[in-house]
């Protein structure tokens, strides 16, 4: 059985060896396929799982998707240690080596241009959460003082008016945190994007999917020279200090997944110009 070719990334030739036990999405070790001085990092995957039909079905299976995404990322991570890879989208599959070669032939100029652009740079992810559920219990204390002090020995249940007032205050507190988080994120983005070479906004994550606490109000990626990464991380760290009820999460360094966009056929119109 021959198997198909799964392509992880394209990069320039690199000297150091990849980790010895590195395995790819279906367990086979990734190998390098050189074409005109560029390298495609590929591994063999079984046709039974990666042909169009089974692949489509697998992609709807969360466990399979998770395992595949993690294996893909592991290879990209290993490449990031030795070079600056240009990562391809998940599940880019070809019939055989010659299919991969003709793709590289066709996109050679684009690959070189984007590889030059990304050389020595990494991506950092920054997310801002509003910790909305924290507003609830702390409110309580102030509200237990009943408005009226009359009545019998039996403490009555909260009156409708008190209940509504409490609800309103809770809602208000939540909205307040949300607004503060959004404003905070705006300022943070200003700082970070003027430090980074490029930035991209991702859609905020669904908290059911992320299982993270709080509400994600901001989700961005920044392209930063590897050499400046430490400074970038410090900037993020500093911002975290003065933000009660707001959580900042940093991920990375990633390969520049979010900055391969110049590769797209259509030119994205960038409004931000200038120094």
């Amino acid at each position: 059985m021959t198997g198909l070719r799964y392509v992880y990334a394209v990069c320039r030739p690199f000297r150091s060896a990849l980790q010895a036990q590195l395995s790819g999405v279906a367990g086979a070790p990734p190998k390098q396929l050189t074409h005109h001085g560029l390298i495609a990092v590929v591994s063999t995957v079984p046709e039974a799982d990666f042909a169009e039909e089974p692949l489509r079905a697998h992609l709807e299976d969360l466990d399979w998707l998770t395992a595949t995404a993690r294996a893909h990322q592991q290879v990209i991570d290993a490449l990031t240690v030795v070079t600056t890879p240009l990562p391809l989208r998940l599940a880019t599959v070809f019939r055989d080596d010659s299919g991969v070669r003709s793709m590289m032939e066709a996109r050679e100029e684009d690959f070189r241009r984007v590889l030059d652009r990304l050389e020595g740079r990494v991506e950092w992810g920054v997310k801002v959460y509003a910790e909305t559920e924290r507003a609830g219990p702390t409110e309580r204390a102030g509200l237990t003082e009943p408005a009226e002090t009359g009545g019998g020995p039996e403490p009555k249940a909260v009156s409708g008016r008190d209940y509504l007032r409490r609800r309103r205050m809770q809602t208000q507190a939540r909205e307040d945190v949300w607004h503060r988080a959004a404003a905070f994120a705006g300022r943070l983005h200003e700082t970070l994007s003027s430090f980074a070479e490029e930035s991209r906004l991702h859609a905020p994550q669904n908290s059911a999917l992320s299982r993270a606490s709080g509400q994600n109000v901001f989700n961005a990626a920044y392209l930063v020279p590897r050499a400046d990464s430490e400074e970038f991380v410090e900037l993020v760290d500093q911002a975290k200090d003065d933000a009660p009820g707001i959580r900042v999460e940093l991920t990375g360094p990633w390969a520049a997944y979010s900055f391969t966009g110049e590769f797209a056929e259509e030119e994205p119109d960038e409004p931000e110009v200038g120094p």
Binding site: R56, A69, R89, E123, G125, Q205, T260
Partner: protein, 62 residues
């Protein structure tokens, strides 16, 4: 570096990049992006529907 969180990468962060980022080249078997986006939406629906079922104590009644 005083990096903040160094725990395992969350699946959503991974998917933000692997399904929405990365170079799109047309392999001879690659699914079109539109298909993958659909998959993503399905996953969202799937997971939120699973979560909705959890807090309901009435699910067992027949």
């Amino acid at each position: 570096m005083t990096v903040v969180e160094r725990r395992e990468i969350a699946l959503v962060d991974l998917l933000d990049r692997l399904l929405a980022g990365g170079v799109v080249v047309t392999g001879d078997i690659t699914l079109r992006i539109a298909d993958v986006d659909l998959v993503r939406i399905d996953l969202n629906a799937l997971i939120s529907s699973v979560n909705e079922q959890v807090p309901s104590p009435w699910g067992e009644l027949t």
